[in-house]
Subunit: 307 residues, 2 copies
């Protein structure tokens, strides 16, 4: 136990010591130059068991799942994808500066709702946060020195934006742009991952710790963010014909290898990612003022085409 | 001078004393109930001299200008609108999670660029910030008690999100969702308000103090945020036919009274606005966790149909 605490402290999630503010010197390299110079070892391939491919008429969306933060929801989402649950369902809701949401248009009507495939649960316990011990070093957590108003600690783990509170001992994924969550009703255990949403505006951090976040859009975000906004309450579409049809959602692992998109994700524990964050903190070139600060939703972890 | 300092301290911009954190008790009323109960005196009409109407084929966008923060740019924008400068020009750039930008597609080509109308300057001094004394009580500045990572002080003035730094004595409009700025090239005095952009994603606060912010979209934001993203560098459109045509941009004051949209804006110095912010800080109902915090970009100032 003592060793665990030490390991976590080293990872920064429990530690109160934050790196002293550095001198705001402009980085010598631009973000493009930093990425161009990044070693191959700073990138990782997609994990086929943790990546969804959502096919729309306009193109494909790739979503990376976060089993470390929402193990039960991710397992259910795998079962839903394997059972073809979303094939032929639709984007139901686009609320400006908030979320795009998809699922079963008849999901609220027990008589018409699409049955869940074998192995998929109708509801799951809330996974709003996990013990800090489940994140920490194991997930390569890197803490941001920048203060955050919403949480005592923020940083990144396995490509995802993370917050943590040493007082409660909990860590959670934060609602940044492109993060994907599982819609729920009033009951905290009413979500199962069948109805998902993605953040398309200013980070609604007030949702943190109130709903289960399951992953992040890696590619194709613009196919979900540029959809017409719904005109009914909460951005739901008024008429069925306004919805965007979902052709197919698959887990990459269930696709023949030749059909799996090849993408690499920058490791958030890499020196390249640290340099990219510094390039945003300490601006140069066109910028005449350097903020000397970023927040956990200021930057999305880059991806690039795989080999 | 001493009186001025006292007045500013009272307004909170120079004061270091922040309201003590209150007990996070859930508000008794929802945002809808707070708005429904708001007195008529908490609302103000549009100022026709400070409101632009941008007409697209899909509908109209209303933009409130901020002459207190960018007097020269706002004066130039008035001259550009009066001269019909934007009529027939286009939305040129939509970069996902960043900005939508409009202006003259041939603006960079001196031979083909649309001439500026009489009274419009080709370039203006930077208006990245103004002395705090220009904001303060005169603009009804209300300070947020919530700490902000990007600036020592934040709050609202005349319906706009504002930041300030007592050390520099400067205040500025913050790049929140829906805020409108004047594009510039390398030179800080290269903008004139002819090319404008609006924030359509996570607040790019790193732009604060680097570019002149001129106002805020009050209505029709979804007509600019849901446009297809450009596929060329920085989200510019590859082909002219991908652009969205601007039919007309008018200053409300130049339209016959019957053609002016009637809209009211909630006063940010009102009790109603303070209650709405509290309703976001201290959640109830569906929420099981209350953040006890908001940031200056968490909430947009409401509007409603005028009488």
């Amino acid at each position: 136990m003592k060793n665990t605490v030490i390991a976590l402290a080293a990872a920064g999630l429990l530690s109160t010591a934050v790196a002293a503010p550095r001198k705001p010197t402009a980085p010598k390299k631009s973000a493009q130059e930093i990425l161009a110079a990044s070693p191959a070892t700073d990138w990782r391939p997609l994990d086929p068991d943790n990546t969804l491919l959502m096919e729309l008429a306009t193109g494909s969306v790739l979503i990376e799942l976060a089993p470390r933060f929402a193990p039960a929801h991710v397992a259910n989402i795998r079962a839903l994808a394997r059972g073809g649950y979303w094939n032929g369902l639709a984007v139901l809701r686009v609320q400006d500066n908030f979320v795009t949401q998809w699922g079963d248009p008849d999901g609220e009507d027990a008589a018409k709702a699409r049955p869940l495939p074998a192995g998929a649960a109708p509801k799951l316990p809330a996974e709003f946060s996990v013990p800090i011990s489940a994140v920490g070093k194991a997930a390569g957590f890197t803490r941001l020195p920048d203060a955050d108003g919403w949480a005592p600690r923020t940083g990144f783990a396995e490509g995802m934006p993370v917050a943590a509170d040493p007082k409660t001992g909990q860590a959670w994924l934060t609602h940044c742009y492109g993060m994907v969550g599982a819609g729920r009703s009033e009951a905290v255990d009413s979500s199962n991952g069948a109805e998902l949403y993605v953040v398309i505006g200013q980070a609604p951090r007030g949702l943190d710790l109130n709903i289960t976040v399951v992953g992040r859009v890696l590619k194709g975000m613009e196919l979900l963010s540029a959809l017409p906004r719904g005109t009914a309450a909460m951005g739901f579409y008024d008429k069925p014909e306004q919805r965007t049809a979902i052709q197919r959602v698959s887990l990459l692992a269930d696709l023949p290898a030749a059909e799996r998109p090849s993408l690499q994700v920058l490791k958030t524990e890499s020196a390249t990612w640290a340099q990219l964050l510094d390039a945003r903190r300490y601006r140069s070139g066109w910028f005449v003022h350097s903020p000397g600060y970023i927040d956990v939703c200021s930057a999305s972890v880059p991806t690039r085409a795989g080999p």
